[in-house]
């Protein structure tokens, strides 16, 4: 049961914030004293099991992200994920289903705009960020078969710091962004998720503009995002799990409709490279629907 899965943690832990790319953060500004809310609906499917258990994993997540502009350079973020995880697998006594749902681990972080170069109709910004994932999700959930494995729990039970930097170059016609970050996972209840490092890239191009008469125009962007994610092996009772962790590279076509008040967006992350350890479960896709709103 230790080798249940290596995925399912990665996509909810990736803090998609109030920003331009769909699958990661941005350096774009949040006005002082103003806020942005982003609600996402995410669906992950992982059914490519290299082992004999024929595992099927689905994770549905509803991360709600709130952002507040503290000053022109400082912004505060809070990511509150609601999770629904379900795993089916073959056992000697038949097909088994294990599932759990509820609040996951809440992440808070601060972002500081360290560099800003504004030109007419364009901006380039670099912003480091730091935060912590808090143990708000239960990490001792049980079902009829006993305690759920660590990777299937809603929370890690630990305080996990994260650190990164993001840069965004946006003009009226196109935008690119890049982000690098790490998350150091700590041990709780004799289980420790593998540390995570990720490199994200995005490129978006405006494909349509409308509604300009008497007000700000509406934009439609098409884009492509890439997420290279590395995760170390989990540790159970101090022992490294050989069937966990590894490297995944996602490519994600995206579509965004942007108005002055809202951004509606969709992305489908496809794992083009999955170099996972042992019999760690491979992912099929992640679909993200998202709404951002200025408040």
């Amino acid at each position: 049961m230790k080798k249940i899965m290596a995925c399912g943690v990665l996509f909810v832990a990736s803090f998609q914030l109030a920003a331009a790319p769909v699958t990661f953060n941005t350096a774009l500004p949040v006005s002082k004293g103003e806020g942005v809310v982003r609600v996402q609906a995410k669906y992950l499917s992982a059914t490519d099991d290299p082992g004999p258990m024929n595992r099927d994993l689905t994770v549905k997540a509803l991360p709600v992200v709130g952002v507040w502009g503290v000053s022109p350079r400082w912004s505060l973020f809070a990511i509150v994920p609601l999770l629904d995880k379900s795993l089916k697998l073959d056992t000697p006594s038949g097909r088994m289903k294990r599932s759990v749902d509820g609040l996951g681990d809440v992440t808070t972080l601060v972002r500081y705009t360290a560099y800003r170069n504004d030109q007419p109709g364009r901006t380039f910004r670099i912003a480091p960020f730091a935060g912590i994932e808090m143990p708000t999700g239960k990490d001792d959930e049980q079902d009829a078969f006993g305690r759920l494995p660590g990777a299937l729990q809603l929370g890690s039970g630990a305080w996990n710091p994260l650190l990164g930097v993001v840069m965004t170059n946006q003009s009226l016609k196109q935008e690119w962004g890049a982000s690098a970050s790490i998350k150091l996972n700590n041990e709780a209840n004799r289980f420790e998720r593998g540390d995570e490092a990720r490199l994200d890239l995005s490129w978006h191009r405006r494909i349509w503009m409308g509604g300009a008469a008497g007000g700000l125009p509406h934009f439609m962007y098409a884009g492509l995002e890439g997420n290279a994610i590395w995760q170390g092996r989990h540790r159970n009772n101090g022992q490294a799990d050989p069937n966990s962790g590894g490297t995944t590279f996602f490519l994600a076509p995206t579509l965004q409709y942007i108005t002055i008040h809202n951004v509606i967006e969709v992305a489908i992350q496809l794992p083009v490279i999955q170099n996972l350890n042992g019999s760690a479960l491979q992912q099929d896709f992640i679909v993200t629907l998202s709404l951002r709103r200025n408040i």
């Binding site: 006005s31 002082k32 502009g69 109709g121 901006t123 007000g215 125009p217 509406h218 108005t259 002055i260």
Partner: protein
């Protein structure tokens, strides 16, 4: 005679808005690159007492602020608001009514 008085009053009322027009400030703001981001600057400017309308031209990087008659703002005032919104005020001109 009554009709004449009413007509004169109506003409007077009709012309009031143009007579009462206040100053128009033209702000050149750098860094405005999407409508969603522009909301912050619009909201901040509209909160200033006396501001009637705010129009943003993203392509030109221009923000046009129309204020009520008798109201005036300094460049420092606009600079602070634009900076708080996360953008850069490059220049300001004003057109008197």
């Amino acid at each position: 005679m009554k009709k004449m008085i009413v007509l004169i009053m109506m003409i007077g009322l009709w012309s009031t808005p143009s007579l009462a027009a206040g100053t128009q400030y033209n702000l050149r703001v750098d860094g405005l690159s999407c409508p969603f981001c522009a909301y912050g600057i619009e909201k901040k400017l509209k909160r200033s007492k006396g501001v009637e309308t705010v129009k943003i031209d993203l392509e030109k990087g221009m923000v046009v602020v129309q204020v009520k008659e008798g109201i005036s703002f300094t460049k420092a005032h606009f600079k602070k608001l634009v900076d708080d919104a996360g953008f850069t005020l490059k220049s300001m001109t004003e057109a008197a009514p």
